[in-house]
């Protein structure tokens, strides 16, 4: 693959994933999604305190796997990594900040009456 890979800012083309990796990643994503949906229908899991954290963790793992393998961010130039992760961090902090200011998170920690 590396021999035919384009120029285009690929700093580490010789480490690009193979076709078999792409299929394995798709299988992994399918399995994790199936687990997520199953958890939604399992009352013991859905009502327990681990439900929300486990869902967020599984979602974050799927997000990271797609970005790393399919978007090649793990193999690409560090400038591209910075261009993505910088705004992503700002976005996540903004989301958390807004939830603390206006939503149930603020109520739970006593910021709102």
């Amino acid at each position: 693959m590396a021999d035919n890979a384009p120029a285009a800012g690929h700093a580490h083309d010789d480490h690009h994933p193979t076709w078999s990796i792409y299929w394995k990643v798709a299988l992994f994503l399918t399995i994790v999604t199936a687990i997520e949906v199953s958890a939604y229908y399992i009352p013991a899991w859905e009502t327990s305190w681990v439900y929300v954290p486990s869902m967020l963790i599984m979602s974050a793992i799927k997000f990271a796997v797609v970005v790393y393998y399919y978007m090649h961010l793990g193999y690409d130039h560090k400038i591209f990594r910075a261009l993505f992760t910088g705004p992503l961090i700002i976005a996540i902090l903004t989301l958390i900040g807004l939830l603390f200011l206006f939503s149930k998170l603020a109520i739970r920690i006593g910021l709102l009456a």
Binding site: M1, D3, N4, A5, P6, A7, A8, G9, H10, A11, H12, D13, D14, W19, Y22, W23, V25, A26, L29, T30, T33, E36, V37, A39, Y40, E46, Y51, V52, M55, L56, M58, S59, K62, F63, V66, V67, Y69, Y70, M71, H77, I79, F80, L83, F84, G86, P87, L88, I90, A91, I92, T94, L95, L98, L99, F102, S103, K104
Partner: protein
């Protein structure tokens, strides 16, 4: 070619496929798409924040996960989100990302000898681009079905806070998927007209990055909107 092989006078040199190198030796189009994706992260974070802030604050239904009885008519509205349909559409979008990355690999490996039927299937950029388009259209079809059924069940963008924030968030995402499908059809047109060569891999890569980003946004939306009550 790697970044270390980029021309010495990088800023003046033309990259393969019509782009230019920046002074860092990076293709300007890839810098642009990553910058765009970064800004899109913040757009969708604001939309998701709005949805989560207003979640559970609608005085009247229908609600996403709870049954609601209209006090004036006595009509009972069941939870409105259809998890099985949305799970299927999530699977469809995930598989479209697989098809997209295989299309890119097919373009990059256009001139690699194909020894078996399976190699020829994997090496067909037209097949995988078509597959990505059709899966994207399938996702949009599921979304159209979902929106239509919501409207028939009494939830519109003007009904309550949930309806406003839900339709805005998922509507924006659907618009991005639509733009992605149109983009993919332009790549297919190029492929049919003159064939996508390894030198064109960057334009396919850029479309693929956009498509995968739309996918990861949906991964977040599916969990935060549909699965977490």
């Amino acid at each position: 070619m790697t970044a270390t092989n980029a021309p010495t006078h990088a800023a003046d040199a033309h990259a393969h496929g019509g782009g230019h190198y920046t002074s860092l030796g990076l293709d300007n189009r890839k810098v642009a798409i990553w910058t765009f994706i970064g800004s899109e992260c913040m757009l969708f974070a604001s939309l998701i924040s709005t949805y989560l802030i207003y979640k559970g604050k609608s005085p009247q239904g229908p609600f996403p996960h709870e049954t609601w009885t209209n006090p004036s008519t006595g009509e009972v509205f069941p939870p409105i989100l259809n998890i099985p349909v949305t799970s299927a559409s999530t699977f469809v979008l995930l598989m479209s990302s697989l098809a997209m990355v295989l299309a890119l690999a097919a373009v990059q490996n256009r001139h690699v000898p194909k020894h078996s039927a399976w190699d020829r299937i994997l090496g067909s950029s037209k097949l995988w681009l078509w597959m990505t388009c059709l899966l994207g259209i399938g996702f949009l079809g599921c979304q159209a079905y979902e929106f239509t059924s919501f409207i028939h069940e009494g939830l519109t963008i003007r009904t309550n806070l949930f309806g406003s924030s839900f339709f805005t968030l998922t509507g924006f995402h659907g618009a991005h998927v639509t733009a992605g499908v149109i983009w993919l059809f332009t790549l297919l047109a190029i492929d049919y007209r003159r064939g996508l060569e390894p030198k064109d891999a960057t334009i396919v890569d850029i479309a693929a990055l956009y498509w995968h980003f739309v996918d990861v946004v949906w991964i977040a939306i599916f969990t935060l909107v549909y699965l977490i009550k």
